[in-house]
Symmetry: none
Subunit: 535 residues, 2 copies
Amino acid sequence: MQFELAFVLLFAVATAVAIVARYFKFPYTVALVVAGLVLGTAHAFEPPHLTKGLLFAVILPGLIFEAAFHVDFRKFWKNKLAIHALAIPGVVAAVALTALLLSPAVGGLSLVQGFAFIHALVFASVIVSTDPIAVVGLFKMLGVPKRLAVLVEGESLLNDGTAVVLFNLIVAVALGGEFTTSGAVLDFVKVAGVGALIGGLVGFAVSQVIERVEDAMVEITLTVIAAYGSFVVAENFHFSGVIATVVAGMMCGNWAANTGMSATTRVAVESFWEYLAFALNSIVFLLIGMEVQLNSLLDSWVPILLAYLAVLLGRALVVYGVSALLRLSSERVPWRWSAVLTWSGLRGAISMVLVLSLPEDFAHRELLVNMTFGVVVLSIIVQGLTMPPLLRRLGVTGQRDVYQEKYELARGRLGAVHAALGALESMRRSRDIPADVLTQLEKDYEQKANAAEQELSSLKQQTNRFHEEEHQEAVRRVLIIEKDSLLKAYQKGAIGKEAFEHLSTELDERLAQAKDAEAHVSLDDSSVDGTPVRT
Amino acid sequence: MQFELAFVLLFAVATAVAIVARYFKFPYTVALVVAGLVLGTAHAFEPPHLTKGLLFAVILPGLIFEAAFHVDFRKFWKNKLAIHALAIPGVVAAVALTALLLSPAVGGLSLVQGFAFIHALVFASVIVSTDPIAVVGLFKMLGVPKRLAVLVEGESLLNDGTAVVLFNLIVAVALGGEFTTSGAVLDFVKVAGVGALIGGLVGFAVSQVIERVEDAMVEITLTVIAAYGSFVVAENFHFSGVIATVVAGMMCGNWAANTGMSATTRVAVESFWEYLAFALNSIVFLLIGMEVQLNSLLDSWVPILLAYLAVLLGRALVVYGVSALLRLSSERVPWRWSAVLTWSGLRGAISMVLVLSLPEDFAHRELLVNMTFGVVVLSIIVQGLTMPPLLRRLGVTGQRDVYQEKYELARGRLGAVHAALGALESMRRSRDIPADVLTQLEKDYEQKANAAEQELSSLKQQTNRFHEEEHQEAVRRVLIIEKDSLLKAYQKGAIGKEAFEHLSTELDERLAQAKDAEAHVSLDDSSVDGTPVRT
């Protein structure tokens, strides 16, 4: 009952935070961390702790699977060089650089007695994996080029796996294991490779079943099995659970979902994972805030600040280095994007779970925990809040062309004018205000409406884009209304189960078609607003 | 990790069971229990135990909320007398009868030494609450009259609360508490009433927030808060959590969902709760099967069988008694329905959780647990499997004619198309989407509307039934609009009190006539598939 109460309270707090954050246009995840900090410091209530068990058993596989499920493999593959470079050698380099920067600063200057290179390495491998949820939301809001978002999401998806494998290798050495470069490379390849293989097998098996079954409830359950099953099997045999779940997720999302699910099922599966990810993220970021021991953290502010700077500098060097190398390939990344990539390397749940998994008697454990929590919270708050101005300053917010701007202006104006006309008409009907008063006003507004409409149609003559976009939007919205009306009729008993199922399958297929068409439009669209072609 | 593995295995087993059950057209819940029995006996793996914590904290509130959320309050209210009679005095009578039948049979015949009336009472209160999931699914599949389904679902929703309150009162007496009839009645009213009040308050608060928020993720979270929050708050203060959740669920489903949610949100919320209920049911029925100690159960087969007979007989007496009394009211229940009501009284999770919550040193605890598990499993397997032939034998399966099916398809399609046309019109008015885009869509939809209307009118030429039904519905809806406008005019002061009363009395009379006519039509209609008129 205690657990349940805490859970309900967490959800209630998350809801309040979501509402307030939306009102003030404040990033949701940042707001959650801040709310968690406040509640934790006030000891408002005893939350469930962010234990390794909770994170590994419940939260990580769900979040990773959802992210992988929604990756568009085609877009991912178009950027494979850049993503892999950032997520594999980039992670190794970032760990090495951060540790090199940090060990003289903390141990060498004797800020902390006995803090050696190996401890810096442990910290660096703990903190290296990125968690860009907070910025991905912002990217969407601010209309950042889609390819940049694919890079950030793809990197973060892959570097989780690399980071966990690297962390385990480094900790083994720190605990007195032998180290040979060839052994480490071999281990790395084995843990990651077999992890990927297990994920592939689970993903394949689940996809096979999904293709043979036609039942939304069972198919949702199958994706849950793919997410948690691949993770638990891989971890059980000491291979990489994270990588296994990434592979299984991509297979389910890009293969099973397209070939094995009816439209109805796909809508239900999407909706399930969207909500699960929302709920898990809400809880994890709130708990991150609440886990922080503000006093202990403030006591270590010097090493935390040094660590944060080392982490940022390490990431900047890696990102600019990789960007420079990519100029030699077909996947060029503009310099301005490198700045965004550097700054979007927020840290999150994985870092927390890794540091908490260190043995209780590990040297400098408390300091490492404080440094990790401190850097995670700093990165979320500082980078999360400064991302929008940075994007604007760099001009990578949707530099939609002049057409787009004019179009939105005209559309906004037209909407307002017509709302006004509607209000005038209802005043006329209700006789609140005498008719003769209204006539002049109505004339004015109708003129305005005409002007705006002419502007719109002339814009549409210049480019075909808007027309198609609007058409798709209208189609989709109408279809949702139809579906809802059907649902109501069924619940009222006006139509029976069979008729309902028949009709709603029809609708879902049309909805799926509409979504595909819309995606197609926006794909074409993305090359217009600021992608590689221009740089 | 252990927990996670068990969870993945449970889900995998449930998936396999779902696929096999569907293939052989075997009821899913029954198949789950059987699979659980086999796995449990084979000690295939260690499942998480069905503890009171797991059931109370996670499973019960979710299942109860979902059921209440989907209850159509208008239909529920039309059958209020029957449902309340079965679920409140009916439950008290069933407990008394079962205990009276059982205590001489088990204790009196000295099958079990020292098994007294009070122990029989404890058992009877444990087992009394019904859990018709298995049969409700069958009802839908077999097209049983909706009113019968409403009775079964409504009764089971309300009797859970009564049963839990009664159980607590009886156990307190068994443990040496004092008993006075007036005290018991007062306690009952207090625990149930304040529980309902708490549920109402939570439901009201959540609905208020839902009306002000427009975000599917947040609104799903709010329904989760309503479900678990109402339960946990009521239980925390020792009032009825079950009743609180029932009330909160009905409010969210019948009020907040209609007035506060957009179509998109409603679809997402429905989809979320549908899956949650599916997942919780899958787990609970599988675990019920696995919890059973087959050996120990077989050892007590005599008391279990006696208990099962006593339970069935007690229920039959109550159902037929209530049905006889209802003949004096407007909510007559045909005798054939009484047989179905009796036989659809399967038992489930609540009985298991209640018996497991008995103190470890409670007299005859092991026997009580065995009797409960035995009766639950017997009722699910025996009644679950024999329900379809019983329904067919009694002729209460929906022998819907071809007309009815075609009519529902056409009406469903027409409703959806008109909702779409309405949405298009409001898009046109609000200029969300420019008019030229909408023209083509509107044409398409108008064609669809014409097609569906032609289909409908040709159907109506073939039979007169639908015409009358639609006429009555239109009359009723227009009258309600009239009444509303009258009320508004009165409130604005446009018409005086006398005129208002005069006119509204007139209207009410016409409304009552329309209702009678409608009931008559739908009675005629339902008489096609076997209702009162014929008995």
